[in-house]
């Protein structure tokens, strides 16, 4: 009996996928932490919080500010403000919650960010990072027509671009995968590949990004995976869970891998709040609030095999 055409096509497709899987280089995704202890393990993680330095849009020249602000000398009218912050273990997951308010006089300034995260340092050769992420609450108040944005994010540095003969020229390339809420565009999943503009990474430029077709659901666990494929000069982003089919998207890059080891070997779980900047010099308009409350679990890394 001959199989119907559709069934034959499905059979062939499955066979191809099965064979492809057999020839994929063996990779071991090793669990780093499932947060099953009552408290955060300080030998594995360090928690951090800062606000990204405000910068005049013109000086960024298409990039975005990536360094922390000096809170002792910066003008608070021009800065975003972190207020409520919480880091703790809840039900076998780590909970990160942050409320950040926008600048009072934000005209002409690039949008500032408040960031709260959990960081681990690793050896060079990271190829894959995976974690389960659940957003439990998020608000993104606008200021007039200025939008706000919040993100629950995985971030890792993978390699460096620059002149290998001069280490000071190294510019790290890093990738982020985020569950994002935006005042006007709603809930999106976004993967971004970026490069530090200088050694200290005070400014970053995006090399490429992708918006997923699917969205995410509040209160549901999503498995986020970001993979570096240096042999194909691309990053692959995958999101599954949350009541929608899994989706995988790739972002290629064209910069050379001049340094196999990134200068900064950070792997972060973080929440980021990017409030709208009001133009209210007298403070009559309240600073808009952006909150992100998310839980992270089952963090795993995969290292390149020599």
């Amino acid at each position: 009996m001959r199989l119907p055409a559709v069934a034959r096509a499905l059979f062939l497709a499955n066979a191809v996928l099965f064979l492809a899987a057999q020839f994929t280089p063996a990779q071991t995704l090793a669990l780093h932490d499932d947060f099953s202890a009552a408290t955060i393990d300080g030998s594995r993680w360090t928690a951090y919080e800062y606000v990204a330095r405000y910068v005049r849009t013109a000086t960024l020249d298409g990039g975005w500010a990536h360094s922390s602000e000096d809170m002792a000398t910066s003008n608070p009218a021009l800065s975003v403000v972190n207020a409520h912050a919480l880091v703790r273990i809840v039900s076998g997951q780590v909970r990160l919650a942050l409320t950040t308010h926008g600048a009072r006089e934000g005209a002409g300034l690039a949008q500032g960010n408040g960031r709260l995260g959990l960081r681990t340092f690793g050896a060079a050769g990271l190829t894959r990072m995976r974690a389960k992420v659940t957003v439990t609450a998020s608000t993104v108040e606008p200021c007039d027509e200025q939008p706000s944005r919040s993100r629950a994010q995985l971030l890792a540095h993978f390699f460096g671009d620059g002149d290998p003969a001069e280490p000071i020229t190294q510019r790290d390339v890093f990738a982020t995968l985020s569950l994002q809420r935006h005042t006007f565009t709603g809930d999106r999943i976004v993967g971004v590949v970026s490069r530090c503009r200088d050694f200290a990474c005070t400014v970053a430029d995006d090399l490429g990004f992708v918006e997923f077709a699917r969205s995410w659901a509040r209160g549901a666990a999503h498995v986020l995976t970001l993979t570096h494929q240096p042999d194909r000069s691309r990053f692959v982003f995958t999101v599954s869970g949350g009541g929608a089919p899994a989706e995988t998207r790739a972002v290629p890059y064209t910069v050379p891998v001049s340094f196999d080891a990134p200068r900064s070997r950070i792997r972060d779980l973080l929440v980021e709040a990017s409030p709208a900047a009001c133009a209210s010099p007298d403070g009559a308009v309240p600073r808009p609030a952006v909150t992100m409350d998310a839980r992270f679990d089952d963090v795993a890394f995969d290292m390149a095999t020599e």
Partner: protein
């Protein structure tokens, strides 16, 4: 030339600790925040957390100590300081609640090489733009403080059996004037700062002491400081008991005045006076903080990359008051 100038400035700021009765003309403080709202008011405060490296005897100039925050931005290659973990910064029952767990830093090796050990902080900093230009200036701060938790957890015993001494502190911090050493709007060199902190050493005792300190920023970002003076109070208290901390810079009398009251004990005052021929200008830093700080102890020797101590603390702040003129300017 510059070094000579700085040295001369530092010498002129020699401070002596004096036991004084409650002194100074009566000056009115106004209410800045009593945390009656449901959340931290971003028009009044901005939250922060920091870790500070230890002071290594061989790499830090004599007389200077690490006090500034490590860079936490993604460009930072590594963290050598203490490691902050769990934290809370929120309004609870009309009080500001600060809670923090800090792990000791890895890579300390011989503790004897370190003048100070790494520490972690969490806090809120006054953020009202109306006071950022120091007109009117903030000369006085006061707040009610309740230190509710101070504990230390040692992951494993020290190899030599010694007992690490951790310190937890909570209280007020402020930058009050610059001694003329600053060269720009962002150069904090010469900023003179003061703090009034309740302190507990949980390894040794649950008793809470109070200490007033004065220091001077030794570089642009105040990463390094010169300690100028310290005054310990005779009174002690205990966890869970509210006390009121107040400190005031009195430029006309070239001194700082620290006062502690509450806990059904007589109020106590200490003064740290300085003789200075330098006319004090406004500070560069806009730093007036409610702060909680953990300094995990360390074994005399260890070569492990695993931190050994986790220190946890929690404090409540309420009824924050400033100079009346400053409060009026923010209304």
């Amino acid at each position: 030339m510059r070094r000579n100038r700085l040295a001369a400035g530092l010498a002129a700021l020699l401070i002596v600790s004096l036991l004084l009765p409650v002194g100074g003309p009566a000056q009115t403080l106004g209410r800045y925040d009593d945390f009656d709202g449901r959340t931290i008011d971003p028009a009044r405060w901005r939250g922060y957390e920091e870790t500070v490296r230890g002071t290594h005897a061989r790499t830090t100039p004599v007389g200077q100590y690490e006090d500034g925050p490590e860079d936490k931005s993604p460009g930072a290659a590594y963290s050598f300081g203490a490691r902050n973990a769990e934290r809370r910064r929120q309004v609870v029952s009309s009080q500001l609640r600060l809670a923090l767990t800090t792990w000791g830093a890895p890579f300390l090796f011989y503790v004897g090489d370190w003048r100070t050990l790494p520490k972690g902080r969490i806090g809120v900093r006054i953020s009202d733009p109306e006071l950022a230009d120091h007109v009117p200036p903030i000369h006085a701060m006061a707040a009610k403080l309740t230190l509710t938790r101070a504990s230390v957890e040692q992951a494993r015993p020290c190899p030599g059996g010694d007992r690490p001494s951790s310190v937890i502190a909570a209280g007020l911090v402020g930058a009050f004037f610059n001694d003329g050493s600053s060269r720009s709007r962002t150069d904090r060199t010469g900023d003179v700062m003061a703090a009034l902190m309740a302190r507990v050493t949980p390894d040794a005792s649950a008793a809470m002491s109070v200490v007033g300190t004065v220091w001077r920023c030794a570089d642009r970002r105040c990463r390094l400081i010169n300690r100028l003076a310290e005054a310990s109070f005779a009174r002690t208290s205990a966890l869970g008991i509210p006390i009121t901390l107040a400190m005031r810079w009195q430029p006309d009398r070239t001194r700082f005045l620290f006062r502690v009251s509450g806990d059904d004990a007589p109020a106590e005052t200490r003064a740290l006076a300085y003789s200075s021929t330098i006319s004090a200008g406004p500070p560069v830093g806009y730093v007036y903080d409610l702060r909680l700080e953990n300094r995990p102890g360390a074994c005399w020797w260890y070569g492990s990359t695993t931190p050994q101590l986790a220190v946890s603390s929690e404090a409540r702040f309420d009824n924050v008051r400033l100079d009346g003129d400053a409060v009026v300017a923010t209304e």
